[in-house]
Amino acid sequence: MLTNTIKKLVFTALLVGWPALASAAGLKIHTAKLGRQPSQIWVQFETPAVLSDCEIEYPTNNPTNCPQPNPPWDVIVYDPSGVASPIKVITSSSQPIGNLPANGLVQLNLENPLPLHFSRIDITFTKRNLPHFSIEPTAAPTAKWISPAKTKDDSNVYISGTFAPAEGGSPSYTIDSKASYVLHSFSNGAYTVSATGDINTDKKKTADPDSFHWAIPVQHVTKYNLTEQFPTIGMELDKKGNAINLVSAPSVTGAIGHVFVREDTKNPGTKTVAASVGLELSGGLEFGSNLKNDFAVANRTLGGQGWFLRGVPSANLYLIIPKVLHLNKISFSSSYTARLLTTDEVFIETRHTAKPIPELSDKTRNYVQNSLTFMLTDYFGIQIKHQYGSLPPAFSFVQNSGSVGLVFAFKETRVPQ
């Protein structure tokens, strides 16, 4: 059984790694575009491009070691009727940006200007595996609407959980999922209005965070690693609707990070990411009104507990190690949120008791969630998760709940304007 599982894992890892192995087989031109001048073309190799300036430079700057009698390019222009005519390349260099292996950019200057109207321009690098590219007059941009996400916070749709059917009893399950959708964006996308929803629940009576939440946040993203979230409407409730809060949650989040790089032994002249770490610190408020609280004292069942205000500092730590142990990546994230209450709110004590006991208090509510994910592909992975603490509105205490399950996460990369 274990042997089969290992074989399957190795097979999956090979599938994931195959494109990287295949791409190392030869050079490939990623794109070519008409330059700023009519007699200029920019060609870009796929990176990392295992190329030296010596191989593409014409006229050569090093005639002794890099003799280059002819430009290493063929450019053929097809007019609208399909008649081909070659145009001579007079200079070829990586000067516009430099660092050829990392950027792959080469500038070609042509003897004659390119015509404004053409049906196709074929560009061939006349060395190695003769990579080529065709410029068409109109190239429709490719649009990927979704892409894999990295963490729960980063995802637009995140589904994680376990399910175990039981004979002669109700099945057990855990759900930790979220969905968000950007409704509108303006000011170059710096401001967005979204619809979001989160579910975090567990079948176990004594380890159920029992938290459901939806909101319509307005977010302001700056280019200085700072994000502001403005207060709008939202709601938090438990599974059975015994506690319902109308809530607004303004916050400010700042982030710092560091990327550790190492020499890429397979592609000389370039580096690769060895690991990256990041820390997000957030400060915010949660305020609103408790609309219903069936856990509270019996003589106050109508109108709930009234207004509440919480201070909500939080911290998130991230660690990503790409391409390790034949896996796509290993990622670790740890988040801590403290809710500092200003009024008494319900707290469900699950420790040392067979039946959870609701209490009213203003003591700080902590919540810690750690997850270690082994991503087999960009979209799917195996996740080990740990959580501790309590979440609004019922604040049902979870003492060190752990789970192992599959994770599926993707992120919407474009939004309607």
């Binding site: 990392a102 950027n103 490719t142 990927k144 170059n188 993203v221 280019k223 690693n225 990546k329």
Partner: protein
């Protein structure tokens, strides 16, 4: 905190009224001057934007700046412009190659030429009755390839030796960092952040492709 009466307004805090009022009506243009193409304002059928009698010349315009927004033209345009105001000083244009014309009135009527290599017959055919001229396509903000790569590199602050195929998720571990990177790129073009691929497995190259002309 310093007492309020110690602070004094300085000339640097002032802005000219004409500068404020005229900011929306003028534009700065970037490009190169075409050699030996002097035009006399009166004879060419157009007027100098300032009303002066100094000659105009053809310019190879590659971009413009409108209220701080830099736009690179998808295709350079030939237009008659006055004497340039100096070397290009903004929007990333190389000051050794490009010049700037500042505060040109947006509604100034100038001469626009379209240079193309065509057979005599096809030119005459285009002008024949019943053939509609090509409609001007709306200009979608974008950058040329080297400028796009430079902007993405600058916003990512990543090691210049990392290939453009590096995934965003490996460079920006937190969503806040990734969103800020995308906002920096979007502001630099400028386009909406939603047009920037921002998934963890999108690469720097994907971002370059999204903003390059």
């Amino acid at each position: 905190m310093a007492p309020k009466d110690k602070w004094k307004i300085t000339p640097k805090h002032f802005i000219g009224f004409s500068e404020v009022a005229g900011g929306h009506a003028t534009i700065s243009v970037y490009g190169r001057v075409v050699k030996n193409t002097e035009l006399q304002p009166g004879e060419s059928g157009i007027l100098h934007p300032s009303g002066a009698g100094t000659p105009l010349q053809l310019a190879h315009v590659v971009g413009y700046s409108d209220q701080g927004r830099c736009v690179t033209l998808a295709e350079p345009q030939l237009v008659a412009l006055p004497v340039p105001d100096g070397p290009a000083d903004s929007c990333g244009w190389d000051s050794n190659q490009y010049v700037v014309w500042k505060n040109l009135p947006k509604n100034w009527a100038t001469l626009h030429l379209k240079a193309s290599t065509r057979s005599l017959h096809s030119v005459l055919k285009l002008a024949a009755p019943g053939v509609e001229s090509e409609a001007a396509a709306p200009i979608k903000p974008c950058l040329d390839l080297p400028a796009a790569i430079a902007l993405v590199r600058s916003c990512s602050k990543a090691s210049p030796d990392l290939p453009l195929s590096t995934q965003l998720g490996q460079l920006f571990t937190s969503p806040t960092q990734r969103n800020s990177f995308c906002q920096c790129v979007a502001d630099g073009v400028p386009i909406d952040r939603s047009q920037i691929p921002s998934g963890a497995t999108n690469s720097l190259q994907d971002v370059v492709d999204a903003i390059a002309c």
